[in-house]
Symmetry: C2
């Protein structure tokens, strides 16, 4: 059994092309011998965003703090604390911080083989 | 892409033997065609608890509200908002509400084949 405080897990800047002012804490992943899925918390600073991209695996997302604009091919949806999102494989998406004052935080769970 | 508000997902009483005053909202599971893992929110009323049990799959848990006593074979650990837990397969565990006033809420993610 492993118990962690989220704030004690290193926040690492996301270096992917198209990402701006985003960091990630890998809460549970391959280094913890997570067998099936990886649990990460992304933190998007004011003005920041993830890449607008797609990939061959799903996301399940839980908004933990702030306001997020979830960008799809046909528009954007504002989401906030108390909302969850399932993004199927191969569907384009982006998360933008939707607030001018507050860092946005979201859990994002993926199959563990896609967490390096 | 599916967006849900957590409070709009049905909270269903957990009927397992050994559970007391616990309900579950299946946020994403087989009915949403979640391919790899199911995302659920458990809510444990004051005085309530999950079964003290084990099973052949892991849990990843995120405390969302309240205070929880995480019971292991050799004792219990208090956990609260901002903490996450990985419980490996076949390790006995129980979640008890640790507060006398507040419902405890936690996300619990499992491989989707174990979500009926």
């Amino acid at each position: 059994m492993i118990v962690k405080k989220i704030v004690e897990v290193d926040a690492v800047p996301v270096q992917m092309e198209g990402a701006k002012d985003v960091s990630v804490r890998v809460l549970f992943g391959p280094k913890d011998a997570a067998p099936t899925f990886a649990l990460r918390q992304f933190e998007i600073a004011v003005g920041g965003h993830t890449p607008f991209h797609e990939h061959p695996f799903e996301h399940e997302v839980v908004v933990m703090a702030g306001e997020i604009n979830l960008v799809k091919e046909d528009g954007k949806i504002p989401i906030t604390v108390g909302e969850v999102v399932l993004i199927p494989a191969n569907e384009k998406h982006q998360f933008q911080n939707g607030s001018s004052t507050e860092t946005a935080k979201m859990l994002c769970i993926v199959p563990v083989e896609y967490q390096k």
